[in-house]
Amino acid sequence: MTERGPASGTLPPHAPPTAEAVVIGLGNPYRSDDGVGPEVLARLREEGGDLARWVTCSDETTELLQLWEGAALAVVIDAVLSGSAPGTVHRLVEGEDPIPPEGRAGSTHAVALPEVIGLGRALGQMPRRLVVYGIEAASFDTGKGLSAAVREQVPLVVHQVLSELRESRGGSTGAHGPRETVHA
């Protein structure tokens, strides 16, 4: 990744904020709602400035280990299928909330996100804190463009992630959105 920080994975003691947080949009924009991660990331990149490193990842998910290793905070945005209403936003904190095995029916990724988290734990390659935003998908059909239910939630997720990053940086604006599952 061209956006990657130091290869050692250990951060210098007074690292600038950009090295502290990484936000990763996971998904394939050619598979309808699977593209929600990259879509949210594109907005965040515009609005978030130097709050984090902004990275998109489409298939090769083991890259996540390198991308987030040593970061103070990693936020991953991905489409999910859990049976909730399309557009439902799930916010899961690694170590606090159970992260269920990914419904493979909806996964276009070679190694599913929960597996990458499992690898990260086993190999000691985790960020200090990992938050996953999963947006319930309506469709994984081929083609560009999000479904209406998912598209409507994009501004909310962008807002929440920005609040999360500001809070983690120590300068909370108080504009934090709901902490748990948000129903569409």
């Binding site: 050619y30 489409s58 190694v111 081929t142």
Partner: protein, 431 residues
Amino acid sequence: MTERTVAVNYVARVEGEGALRVRIEQQRVREVELRIFEPPRFFEAFLRGRAYTEAPDITARICGICPVAYQMSAAHALERIAGIEVSGTVRALRRLLYAGEWIESHALHIYLLHLPDFLGFPDAVHLAERHPEIVKQGLELKRAGNQVMETLGGRAIHPINVRIGGFYRCPTSEEMRTLRSPLERALAQAEATARFVATLTFPQVQEDYQFVALRHPEEYPMNQGRVVSSSGLDLPVERFEEAFQEQQVPWSNALQSRSKEGGTYLVGPLARFALNRDRLTPRAAELAKELKVPSPVLNPFQAILVRALEVVVACEEALRIVRDYREPSEPFVPAPTPFPGGVGQAATEAPRGLLYHRYEVGQDGLIREAKIVPPTAQNQARIEEDVRHLVERSVEAEDAQLQDACERAIRNHDPCISCATHFLRLDLQRN
């Protein structure tokens, strides 16, 4: 009970998703259907009306694991129409980029997807918990491939630096020098990997494959060569469609390929190795001899060993190109204007096997027609035969065991169901 169906609704550790249904009657295998679900012709339709210069970047999006293969087959096919030939250093850089993809894709498959089968772990996470050093080595090896892709492709996953005629920008000598030590380390790791996987216990199976691969006068094939087969076929790439045809089967969205005589065939590492053993790079050739790798390898479980040898080939080639590098004066050969238009075909060796592209482009530079024949679509019918033979041999086994064995038989061939189309689920029916 005389009939049973064994279903694997998702075949784990297969890139993408698919399903397998096996129907057994009176202890005999009646049907084996490997199902692939994604609308396969999406990208072909999507390419129509687009500028020919866009094809490498659009087709790269078909697969996150082998984008270079798609870029290369597209670029070569379109260069044939443009009447340009890429040679010298720029050609070598393309081979380096391809080597990076082989290292990345094969390391991922060997360590994270295939090795757990041989070491008795349900997946890579369990393997990593017990043997973190093994998985770390695999990830480190894979990273060397990523680094090559980053240096040449602009980024690791969907390289954006490839264009018709070459590259948008060639790396500086300084940038290329930074690849040396990771590649030297990767070569040592690749050799260690081959020695390690040679010690695994392989189920004793022999299949009678018809192998199809590219063959180049001097090189282990990646970007160029003639289409050859183990039954004596030897054709220029532009005649590929005379020898192989695609057919629709009711249970799959991917078109299945067969030879014109109707037989199934296999592309990929086993085929490349069988048809190009005399083109291995020096250390890979020595290792193949030292490890007593048979010629050809007909046991599909030993594909892991052949992949490991191919990682050695890719590392040796990458190092040679990096060492010999001198920045070229021009990063690409320009296409003539006005664009001549016409039909062009090309095949390159994706990590999973021969990838054929054909384009028809108008004189306005817009694509009229695109045809893409990915390796997994070509292997699909042959994988079904492997599964059929496996079930015939183990028909007495419990369903759970049989399901597991079927999954392993499929994983041997590293099917990329998201490029052939998508996905896999397994359904074993017994009565």
